[in-house]
Symmetry: C2
Amino acid sequence: MKFGYFDDKNKEYVIQTPKTPYPWINYLGSEDFFGLISNTAGGYCFYKDARLRRVTRYRYNNIPLDNGGRYYYIKDEKDFYSPTWMPVKSELDHYECRHGIGYSKIKAIKNDLETEILYFIPLGDNAEIHKVTLKNVGNNDKEFTIFSFIEFCLWNAYDDMTNYQRTYSIGAVEVEGSTIFHKTDYRERRNHYSFYSVNHPINGFDTDRDAFLGQYNGLNEPETVIKGMSNNSMASGWNPIGSHSIKVKLAPNEEKTLIFTIGYIENNQEEKWKAEDVINKEQAYELLEKYNNDTAVEEAFEKLGNHWNNLLNKFVVESHDENLNRMVNIWNPYQCMVTFNMSRSASYFETGIGRGMGFRDSNQDLLGFVHQIPEKARERILDIASTQLEDGSAYHQYQPLTKKGNHEIGGGFNDDPLWLILSTTAYIKETGDFLILQEEIPYNCDINNTGTLLEHLEKSFGFTLNNLGPHGLPLIGRADWNDCLNLNCFSENPDESFQTCDNKTGKTAESVFIAGMFVYMGKELAELYKRLGSDNKSQKVLKEVEKMTHAIETYGYDEEWFLRAYDYYGNKIGSKENEEGKLFIEPQGFCVMAGIGVDNGKALKALDSVDRHLNTEYGAVLLWPAYTKYQTHLGEISSYPPGYKENAGIFCHNNPWIMIAETVLGRGEKAFEYYSKIAPSYLEDISEKRRLEPYVYAQMIAGRDAVREGEAKNSWLTGTAAWNYEAITKWILGIRPDYDGIMIDPCIPKDWDNILIKRVFRKSTYEISIKNPEGVCKGVKKILVDGKEQEGNYISAFNDSSIHRIEVIMG
Amino acid sequence: MKFGYFDDKNKEYVIQTPKTPYPWINYLGSEDFFGLISNTAGGYCFYKDARLRRVTRYRYNNIPLDNGGRYYYIKDEKDFYSPTWMPVKSELDHYECRHGIGYSKIKAIKNDLETEILYFIPLGDNAEIHKVTLKNVGNNDKEFTIFSFIEFCLWNAYDDMTNYQRTYSIGAVEVEGSTIFHKTDYRERRNHYSFYSVNHPINGFDTDRDAFLGQYNGLNEPETVIKGMSNNSMASGWNPIGSHSIKVKLAPNEEKTLIFTIGYIENNQEEKWKAEDVINKEQAYELLEKYNNDTAVEEAFEKLGNHWNNLLNKFVVESHDENLNRMVNIWNPYQCMVTFNMSRSASYFETGIGRGMGFRDSNQDLLGFVHQIPEKARERILDIASTQLEDGSAYHQYQPLTKKGNHEIGGGFNDDPLWLILSTTAYIKETGDFLILQEEIPYNCDINNTGTLLEHLEKSFGFTLNNLGPHGLPLIGRADWNDCLNLNCFSENPDESFQTCDNKTGKTAESVFIAGMFVYMGKELAELYKRLGSDNKSQKVLKEVEKMTHAIETYGYDEEWFLRAYDYYGNKIGSKENEEGKLFIEPQGFCVMAGIGVDNGKALKALDSVDRHLNTEYGAVLLWPAYTKYQTHLGEISSYPPGYKENAGIFCHNNPWIMIAETVLGRGEKAFEYYSKIAPSYLEDISEKRRLEPYVYAQMIAGRDAVREGEAKNSWLTGTAAWNYEAITKWILGIRPDYDGIMIDPCIPKDWDNILIKRVFRKSTYEISIKNPEGVCKGVKKILVDGKEQEGNYISAFNDSSIHRIEVIMG
């Protein structure tokens, strides 16, 4: 069942009912100011940090679930309702929500009034703009009052929901004309305030929540709206809100636009005050002036559109498969940009108060956006590397505001350092910017102790080598990529974290997955050294890679598949010997991606085993069979009910590793099968089962052991986005940037033909046409570059700003 | 304006409208299982620790504010409503909520159906019982369905509202007969589950929130109730709830009782399971069996009543003043018991997830409950002392589950250690149990490093001596009693705590308040040594007390009042020299209590200054004039808007110090004036202004500089309860337990006469009659003990179990 449709021309998903199976959201903003907005206008906005600079308040998992946002109410003589359905939930004559790229539009018709609200954050400013268009579509004059409503968050979102002893006494506002200024705590150490304004004279306002709603009323029945008149209330403590009221009269067919703005301003310490207790509002005035008319707002909106078109224009595919086209051209790269902006902080599953930036996450996310915003990718790499320690280890997370490692969580996730090699080489391959390797970067953010980025990579690689276990495989530490496989943290206390509880000595438990990563990253590093002319170093690295490959083939393989790990006692995990958890997905993907066992059939067997035991209707589950009991020596993985999360859920992040591995073996059908099973657009028809947005990936889909098989959870902020983008663009469509050019090496289903791809690479535009006359999965027979045939499938970089035609004949 | 009335006979406050100015709550439970319940059945319950073992879910500061609790719905042919008003909010024909001692009763009539729900937690069991009585008060047969509803919390209340990645995948239940078992995480490390049951066959149930409510519906409109039939839904992940439905048919005048039970069970590790994935429910069966009929429930309720009557019977006053009587006999000691049970963890202002037990708080709270539960007071003292460090300093907080010091907050609140002397001497005076002083107690919870309790006290005293500043006054550290006066933590970053940010060296800022405490506690300690026969030690202590008294009089007094402190730069705080914050309340109270300046007029001047500058209509404000700007060298105190909290709010905790100080000077009128200004019962008539419960103290009342002067905040969990109890019983009524007996020394308004007091002291009952024929404030002329006149006003302990008549003639 569908709840809307894709409008690919406008790059929008159009939702046709407010009653989606879960709030379907979108993101606003791409610089410092951000908003989350659901299809019924729920959500909130913040500046830079969703915990420390929350601008509007939001309650997660409320009843109803998505109850709170930027709301408008229309009150006419007989009735009141919300033009975004929520929170009043009156039946609307027409409803439509268009989630576009960086904006949303919600349209409604009721009682002969058409409303359209466009929500976006203009480039260059810290403000959420709501352009509200009101049109009388009836035959009679229409008079009504429009009320606005937002609830201010008292900045620190965690304190805001826990520290009522303080927060109930500090709320403060000022009102000037049509602008409500929220200045809680501005009198103390804060130098920032927010405001909510409208470009129109108002008939009244409210800033005190109880005054606006009435103490016992829900958002669905504000007393003020019911009586039709604002109270001009001034908040002092308790809960400051912003609400305007404007009386409107429209003749038939007449249209009126109101521009509401939520803004955030920082003042210099010396310029905080205009007068005693009166804040300096100059910057707010400027901002409001800038967006005080329709033309200005429309121009800003167009500019935003151009900005996004430019980003999404770097890779465009035209194929017979509209699902493929829209995932690759629109939604997947858009989601990748959102993961760049948000990391794992703020979604409808992540509350924005919990986590910093993950070391591992951030490196992987980069794969998905490096071609769109290479300069920001560069900055991100340097930020991440600065939190690495001198022994090569890494803080598992760092804080976005301070960019320092998070001491509470600490390190000991032994895969972390290796991911830095992946992101750095991906960046250089995209940009050719080898100079980044010479950047001097701190260890542990200590600017007195630095090393070049290249040295950091060397330490990453060395860290694994310095932490090998009894079989010569890497020690796993607290966990590797699978945060829930905790082989050294035997936890029996439910009040402690599975990851950060007392660590066993950790000198036996080994990860075959990290071993596979080590081979993969080692080959990358060796290749990089070669390019840099350090053949010696390259050889040394390759020697270690060989040794590790040997260790994996000897101790990390179990007849038909790669083992997952050795536990604290030296016993196998992910082996036929196990009763449960016989087969894990992660090492199968990464070992084959690294080329291990490709020449001797082990890789083939491993992938066939994945197909046989893990592949299901909705994607490949993480392991088989699911754990039915909690086992202290395995940790959190066995704590989940079978079929959910890491315990045999379809953990989408690792499915693309299997896709890529399949392309390594040349099996285009299989690679694409895995791709289309989890790519959301293909699943639009089962939205009632999948529940989450059909335009973005979710972290997890409940597996076959689960009661709710096929139901997705945790959409938007997941490494799934980057890895699927990697799999489809580089390995299935096969357009792979490399140090000196682009490799073209598609691996597709046999019956695909006539694929057109536009790829912008280092300023040149490659217009690639792929033909597959013989119906092969893999293999390039002939390539013409600008009409001239060339040897091999590696197209050297042009380093110009021209368009080049590349004709590819597979066979 | 009143919203109800006191029913003193039943020890109840009777609320007559659901629309109180704020949710007016009560507490259930007095051992390990607790519930908070508002007058419309909002709130939640938990086992021992409100953060780690939250049984039902609750959202603070929701819209409407108090939206969530243990709810029942009545659905008849035409209508549905809540018999507790919330959450449906239908008009009721009659409504009444009785908050009693350890129980609440909510009664309603609508559509000819009378419902009465009694909520309590029986002694000895971990269960909240809801006895629901349904009576047809109309003339026709009545058929309807009753639906129950609670939402389970997934145990850790913090994770429950932040970690949706995990919590949405783990929810699990079992249903057996009429019982819904909540067993989330039981499969992993938890050995506890909860259940919700009813002693009646059910027509259906729901355990999945979306199924019961419908995804878009609020608690005011559950789909299931509207359609009148349960779905028998089984939760798998997302949000597990408990809901039963029972069809009821009542003839006119017929009555029916249903007993609903929310229970909490812990199993031994070896006995967790009955079968694969089926929990062992034996203990639940037993508990349900125990309370499966009206008689059993009524007996348990009676037992609870007796338990409380026994506790409250230790001190009973009969005077002409009913406000006084009910505060002293019922509500103040009840609130003291609640602060014993809850410390500062769970109220409608404290979310139960934030804090541990305060070192300072817990010592002071003890003053209010030591006479009711001396054994538990003993245990509490030993727990607190165990977290003291060997140098005498103390962790500012400790965790109730582990009883270990809280490292995150640490120490450096330099008043903390001294409070241990106060609680210990109060305990011994109440009980005569000098043996407690010989208990060997760890330092910093290290059982290999211990000292006797007496040695701990010695270290407390020594800590101050070892931390004196330039004027010989105690260094303040991060803060003293006033957590917001931060003289060594110059904070300019709004994202850090005022208390735990970088500490300056702290070798200059001194606290006159701690100095006053030191003198007060020093005299206590000297007296204790004397009783123990250590005259030498006693003398040594007194010498230090004298030195400190001298330092205070020389450097800590400013013409008309005691200074508050010296700041980091050595400048005065709380002095005429200051532009703002000239006069602070705390040192005036504590220095005079300690006897400083009593002989030379300084004390008198100080209290007159308090009267002149701090005393207002609603109590004495903390300081004058309020700070109008944030000042880094003063810290958080200056961060609050004028009139709120420590910045010139009426911080009720320190008002009783002024009351006691006034009794030291013999001014009974003034002492009682301060008492009656903040004692809630006296303020019942202005409930619409005060907003909070008229039966319990609040931490703070907005001061005269505030926009909302007279409005109270943070009711229930405040040291205010203990100190007011101390002031009224020991200093105004003047019944003071001492090491060998009781001192009788009232200090009352002149026109008081004929006060009867019953005091249970070391098993003997003292029936004290106070007569005041000459209309004095203070002074005992004659005392007859069991009819025989005695010298002086010190009645030696009888150490028997008899009743003794004490006639006191003032004059």
